[in-house]
């Protein structure tokens, strides 16, 4: 009897747990919109039906069964939810800057679902963001791909569970400044950065080998082998070598980009995306052939020396050279208007509407390994959608509604102004920030910089 109760209880609890883990899925019929599918052209006066969180049908005169909410989008534009391949939004901390390799840490542990910035990103049409570790270390921590299901108190509810694992790497001034100049350890130069990464990969190969030889004798009779010590840091690096994790590498200069391409080729790693990559345009043919692409700023430059020789035409050059290219924010501010950032590629290089939109939808989806789920409006994909009043590449475009999995998370006409879901009771007067912090790639490294020169930039 006791055993039976135990089993029943387990079943109930298990059921409850999976119910708890279930994120909301919605149904909605959006009618008569100009549908910017991104992958299948523009469809005029077209309906999109989302059922149970999935785009069920795209066509004309669709009808909804039952009580599905119907939205008249006549004269409006519908595009896929915007995807940001580089963000630090909703992360409590960003840099574990204590060593040049910190592959063992994970941003999944520091996701803050209460960050009102999530709502602000939704109000700018962004539905998916890649929350990265900072750029203090040559090999940083593992990152987390999020769907901005705002309103939950459970961090796991905003994880995109289908997304593959990703990890942050960083080259150039940041790791050399933090470790070389800040702590007087390698790397102090771009030579050192290469050596650190090669050492890490080589160590991981040995670690893998140790486990493989142990596993090969483990089951055998009279075997006395003891298992190697489990090491999360080396295991993570081994997983990179096994192609289980996509590298997103902070980089600026062409030489360092080329260096990491070579290192990865030597170790048989091909899941590699470069981020920032301001001088990517100088090695565009190499990026096109050997990597999963480049995720760039629309126009940032000259904020530090390694971006002095860059150009706002970067995205256009990369696109014309067949590099899978995305435009990211790296900023709690820019993440609210990535549609505008993408539109700048029409000023700087004359990209077509479809090319420009792909920079913030299907291309970042490819770079995050989630393009089978999101990044375009196609039947069978997840119902992440944004309605705009004008074409989203127009400077006058204002996002009207944002959906994730068919659930509406932003509605310009219905939402209250104050969207905080946690208000501190000890906060007598709400603080006003003269400069709201919005750029955080080097957040949390001040501690290590006391011996170094003035620290005043963050990317």
């Amino acid at each position: 009897m006791k055993k039976f109760t135990y089993i029943m209880l387990s079943i109930v609890l298990f059921g409850a747990k999976s119910l708890y883990a279930q994120t909301p899925k919605g149904d909605v019929l959006i009618q008569n919109a100009t549908v910017l599918t991104v992958t299948q052209g523009t469809l005029e006066e077209t309906d999109v039906l989302v059922e149970d969180g999935i785009i069920k049908k795209i066509g004309k005169d669709l009808s909804a069964s039952g009580n599905i909410e119907t939205i008249d989008a006549t004269g409006k534009f519908l595009m896929p939810g915007i995807i940001d391949a580089h963000s630090h939004l909703a992360l409590d901390v960003v840099n574990e800057a204590s060593a040049p390799i910190t592959a063992q840490v994970s941003m999944a542990d520091v996701v803050n679902p209460f960050d009102v910035g999530i709502y602000r990103a939704l109000a700018g049409g962004t539905t998916v963001a890649h929350g990265l570790h900072g750029s203090a270390n040559a090999i940083g921590g593992q990152s987390i791909t999020m769907k901005f299901r705002y309103g939950t108190s459970n961090p796991e509810d905003i994880f995109m569970k289908e997304a593959p694992r990703t990890i942050k790497f960083a080259l150039g001034e940041n790791p050399t400044r933090v470790h070389g100049r800040g702590k007087n350890i390698q790397p102090r130069t771009r030579m050192g950065v290469e050596a650190i990464i090669r050492n890490g990969f080589a160590e991981a190969q040995q670690y893998k080998k140790a486990w493989e030889s142990y596993n090969s004798v483990k089951g055998k009779k009279n075997n006395t082998a003891t298992p190697p010590t489990y090491d999360l840091r080396l295991q993570t690096l081994a997983d990179i070598l096994d192609g289980k994790i996509i590298i997103h590498c902070h980089s600026y200069r062409a030489d360092e980009i080329y260096m990491l391409i070579n290192v990865c080729r030597d170790f048989g790693v091909d899941k590699l995306v470069f981020t920032h990559v301001n001088e990517g345009f100088k090695v565009a043919p190499e990026l096109a052939k050997y990597t999963m692409g480049a995720s760039v700023f629309s126009d940032w430059w000259a904020y530090k020396f390694e971006v002095y020789y860059s150009t706002a035409y970067n995205a256009a050059i990369l696109m014309e050279n067949d590099v899978v290219t995305s435009i990211n924010s790296d900023s709690d501010e820019l993440i609210r208007h990535l549609y505008h950032e993408a539109a700048k590629t029409q000023r700087y290089g004359g990209l077509t509407d479809e090319q420009a939109l792909s920079l913030i939808t299907i291309n970042p989806a490819k770079q995050l390994g989630i393009d089978e789920f999101v990044g375009s409006i196609e039947e069978g994909k997840q119902g992440d959608l944004v309605i705009f009043d004008h074409h989203p590449l127009s400077v006058y475009a204002v996002p009207q509604m944002t959906f994730i999995d068919g659930v509406k998370y932003f509605d310009i006409n219905e939402d209250e102004d104050d969207q905080r879901i946690k208000v501190s009771p000890t906060e007598m007067v709400e603080p006003v920030y003269l400069k709201a912090e919005d750029e955080r790639c080097m957040h949390g490294v001040e501690l290590f910089m006391q011996e170094a020169a003035a620290f005043n930039h963050t990317h």
Partner: protein
């Protein structure tokens, strides 16, 4: 033998200049002076409506004639049919020219040591050859206020046109003295002072400013009485502000601070005050309008200053102030990306300000605030030929800027960003060396 040697030397002598020039290739593009006739454009005058199919004649650096069927009479003709002429855009608050690479202290010339340094001249430190200047001007932003920062009185800001080989050639008629009004706001999330500490700091800063103002007033009175004064450059400069010769640009953002600043302006009877920043202006827009103090606000593409604010608080701020009757100019507060000025105006337009008013906020309104509307801010006969020609609405990112004129000079439409594009679009060699 000697003769042959001589012949060789003579030959070499003639070859030398050829050889040395032989190492230099490529075309150098320089600003081009002269007379230009811009033929058949849609002229967005800003002050006198939109003129279809109209010619604009540029000579002696000025807009000498606006009309139809103008005779070229020696001027270089530029066909502008299907295109638009706008006055050059004015960014009323930047750091352009005062910094080259943001993080490198060696290139930061915007912040001098000391709390009260109004005598520090931005114009002195502006680098006419900054790489950012061509990057900016090809976007149609022709004129910027370069503003020093840090401390209570960081220096003297200067209005410059983005063409010229010396600061004096760039200077275009306005100087102003910025002042950081004491604030009870936090400077950023990293600002971990307690509420009490912040309040005390603000009170002390206000007391300091009052003392300094008092001293400057005394200095002015002594000057006016032709007293024999010792060299005191800080007070010399501030006395000009007290006298109303130089405008005071009061940087203030938090609503409560704005109210205090307005009170302070009244108390001190500041004759020529301009509020800058004003990110929470929408909360006290009526008070600002009633005080009749002009505002330079921005960036528009910014986060709200409070976490309880509506997501678009910064986008709607210029429109809300305008609606309340405030005179509003828009700035970027940027250095290398001042080219985003039209996009800041575009967002303000979309979020309540409207296109026409947003265009004014980056042309005629700042020109009026700075008192340079006699030569800048609109397309009118007699004004400076500081303008640009585009193939559409300059707020739209898909629009291309075709030509830029500054003080009558035709600006080469190139910059390092464009040259890198030209070099690397189709790299040679590509992936393989051969």
């Amino acid at each position: 033998m000697r003769k042959i040697n001589l012949t060789i030397y003579v030959l070499l002598f003639f070859l030398l200049p050829v050889l040395s020039y032989g190492q230099i290739e490529g075309e150098v593009l320089k600003p081009e002076g002269g007379s230009f006739l811009l033929r058949g454009a849609t002229v967005v005058t800003v002050t006198n409506g939109i003129l279809e199919n109209t010619d604009v004649l540029i000579s002696n650096g000025k807009i000498s004639n606006i009309g139809t069927g103008l005779s070229a009479s020696g001027a270089t003709e530029i066909d502008c049919s299907g295109q638009f002429i706008y006055p050059g855009m004015i960014d009323s608050g930047t750091r352009l020219g005062l910094v080259e690479v943001g993080s490198l202290a060696e290139t930061q010339d915007y912040s001098e040591i000391g709390n009260v340094t109004p005598n520090m001249q931005a114009l002195t430190a502006i680098n006419p050859n900054s790489v950012s200047i061509p990057v900016t001007r090809v976007s149609g932003v022709t004129t910027v206020l370069s503003v020093p920062s840090g401390g209570l009185f960081p220096g003297t800001a200067a209005l410059i046109n983005l063409n010229g080989y010396t600061p004096d050639q760039m200077y275009t008629g306005f100087n102003g003295v910025p002042m950081n009004f004491p604030t009870s706001a936090r400077r950023g999330r990293w600002d971990r002072r307690s509420d009490d500490e912040i309040k005390k700091d603000a009170e002390k800063a206000l007391k300091d400013i009052n003392d300094i103002w008092e001293r400057a007033s005394t200095y002015m009175k002594l000057e006016d009485a032709e007293a024999d004064l010792q060299y005191y450059p800080e007070m010399q400069q501030l006395a000009k502000v007290v006298r109303g010769e130089l405008p005071l640009l009061i940087e203030v953002n938090k609503a409560e601070d704005i109210k205090n600043a307005l009170k302070w302006i009244k108390e001190k009877a500041v004759q020529n005050a301009i509020l800058t920043g004003v990110s929470e202006g929408f909360r006290v827009a009526d008070e600002i309008a009633a005080a009749d103090v002009p505002v330079i606000t921005g960036p528009v593409l910014a986060l709200p200053s409070r976490s309880s604010d509506r997501y678009d608080a910064a986008y709607t701020n210029p429109g809300k102030m305008l609606e309340a009757g405030v005179k509003v100019a828009i700035r970027t507060s940027d250095a290398e990306n001042v080219r985003n000025l039209p996009f800041n105006a575009g967002f303000a337009a979309a979020y309540g300000m409207g296109k026409e008013e947003a265009l004014k906020a980056i042309t005629i309104v700042p020109a009026e605030i700075f008192g340079v509307d006699d030569h800048l801010g609109s397309i009118e006969e007699g004004k400076s030929a500081t303008l640009f020609i585009s193939d559409g609405d300059p707020f739209e990112t898909s629009t291309q800027i075709m030509h830029v004129f500054i003080d009558g000079y035709k600006i080469p439409m190139t910059s390092r960003h464009i040259r890198l594009y030209q070099e690397f679009l189709e790299r040679n060699p590509g992936l393989e060396k051969h």
